[in-house]
Symmetry: none
Subunit: 211 residues, 4 copies
DNA sequence: GATGAATGAGGCTTCATTCAT
DNA sequence: CATGAATGAAGCCTCATTCAT
């Protein structure tokens, strides 16, 4: 089949080797469209504007490519989150901001959102560890905020930080999942991040001290 | 759902022709072990104790079998949940009981839990709607409890029921996911359902009126 | 698959065992519709109003059933042809009548025609001999007419009877094939047998003495 | 027709990539041996000296391969016939030459003959049109010769050209079929084309003006 | 004799991966 | 480094045939 050079192929004109990143980006797109197991290497190569074989110069095999793609996307997300948190002090505000970042990041990139909600944990189970560490890292950020809050006396001391972190993450995560599965997403009239306050209002109330 | 070859096939009175259910159960097991896309029809047939071809007397193709399996398991779960709720009145207690049922059901059947956490939403996205209706049904149960609570004045009136339902579900769901992904599960010394109170304590606090 | 009892099934009410013939008829129909190799035993059984397994009480296997079906149909055709020829004397008229019978028989039963034109020789090659003998028999009838004609001096003596027989058969046969392949057949306004004289005019001229 | 992966694949200059034609030839052989529906892709691949999967680089599926094979063979036959006819003038001689070419071509390649006699019309009915156009083309050649003859006054004006063409084709075709079905073919002591004059003698007499 | 649920061998097709250019 | 034609293992599914009822 004569491959029609995709848009990405045009970019290869510019220069030497952004190929690695192009492949990674293409992978995320394709995974979002077809899901992990229905993603074909040939399609990723096509969309990245490289030959099938080229993939194997950068990745050992399909699984590693897909894992690297998810890892990479997640990594960039964490980085942004972390630096954003440094700018505020109040634990409550930090929590709010994390929720916002989460919803903002995924709400702005539907492909990424699909991959995170439907493929990430799926893959976590069946493809070894990969971003497991990153997930742990994400939880650690949440937990440290909660701990700060407890120490500052703004969060209840009688709750498990781990459980609370899961509640927080679960609530936000579930909002995203619903957004993905529903077709209301076609309505570009509301952004996922606009739900931040509603979610935070509940979770925050659940963990705050009854001052 | 899939058609049975004839009603006679359903006679589970003796032990012979419960093939339909045996195939369904085997499917759940295999999906839990290998994931949706790595499940091979031959293995399901083998584990159900039937020939490969027999599968196709009961199901049109592999996808329909897998979807039926997930559907069926989810359906049974909903039934149990619903009947259990009828036995209590207090909305807070109802919420607690739902969380318990959720954690109890999945904590007792690891295969089922894996399928629900890693395959269900995955499939919801890539295999059409199927259990989407069931998920909606589940949320409806939660929402009606929340509504009762608001009307009874025990839950805050200033929060969105939909958002609150997602927070509740998300929190419980996340607990299960973590349980699945962690390897502590090997420790059979603690049951997932024992986390019920910790989770409920937070979410309930978040939605309760500040009496 | 719940078999919907076909029309044929109703006929089984009458009595004991016309099953054999019913199966044979069903086979011809199904072969005409799907071709030899795409004919499924289950469909033949369904259309004959019997169970799949019943086929095997009457025929050793699928191939024997199909061969028997073709054989039987051909046999009936030959019988009719033979008795019809006995009623005329003139070799030229006999030839004309054979052409007419051929075109009449197949033109009246499209299923039969399809089977004869597309499956008979196909099968002759790939399924052993079966009706080969019947074909030979058919040619023998033609040849004996030609011989009579030569002896009576109405047909040229300088031509090979075998070759002439093939020319006659080939011409008529080709007319039928064209009729099958074309879609003009939908026009029920002309009958295949109406072409008799046109064909015979040519072939007869070719074999007649130039008296 | 099937697409080649790239023009480079067509370079039959060296011996490497005539794969497309090799597959086509292998297909004809295998079809001749086993018939259309008993031809296995694996055997064709094996005989063409390529891997099973390679077939699918050149053809969309089994049916398209088989149809392309028959088409291709027929096409080459027509080409040869056409150019041969240009070399003679007399319509009677043209007809003789067509019969000769027909018998010569198939008599020289038993595999091809089997495919043409047993599979071509079979397929025409059950596999869509494909070479139907080619058949029509063949008939057009015959018809134009007959028309020339009528205009030149050497062929009777009172016969239908279409019918006459079918008689001609039918006669020649039937000779081939008989040759295929008989086992005398094992006798390589006579060539099918040696029957040309006998056949032509009859058909020509049938269409000639009785000068 | 009759049934039809069950069997399981076998074929088409896909697609990750390799390697000669 | 890059290519992409070629490979071939592996899996879904069909359907002729059997056999317990």
């Amino acid at each position: 089949m004569a491959k029609r050079p995709s848009q990405a192929a045009a970019r290869s004109a510019n220069g030497t080797s952004d190929k690695y990143q192009r492949i990674l980006d293409a992978a995320i797109e394709v995974i979002a469209e077809h899901g992990f197991f229905h993603s074909r290497v040939a399609e990723i190569a096509d969309r990245a504007g490289v030959a099938d074989g080229t993939i194997y110069l950068y990745f050992k095999n399909k699984d590693e490519l897909l894992m690297a793609a998810i890892d990479s996307a997640f990594h960039r997300f964490i980085q942004r989150a972390r630096s954003s948190l440094d700018q505020v002090q109040d634990p409550r505000e930090k929590l709010r901001r994390m929720a916002f970042l989460h919803l903002e990041a995924l709400g702005s990139n539907r492909s990424l959102a699909i991959v995170f909600q439907t493929e990430l944990r799926h893959s976590a189970k069946f493809l070894g560890q990969f971003s497991h560490n990153l997930l742990v890292e994400y939880f650690d950020v949440i937990k440290s905020v909660l701990r700060e809050g407890q120490e500052a006396g703004v969060f209840r001391a009688d709750i498990s930080i781990t459980i609370a972190a899961h509640c927080f993450f679960g609530a936000v995560d579930e909002i995203v999942t619903t957004w993905i599965l529903s077709d209301r997403d076609r309505d570009h009239d509301y952004h996922l991040s606009s739900l931040t306050d509603s979610v935070v209002a509940i979770v925050l109330k659940g963990v705050e001290t009854g001052s």
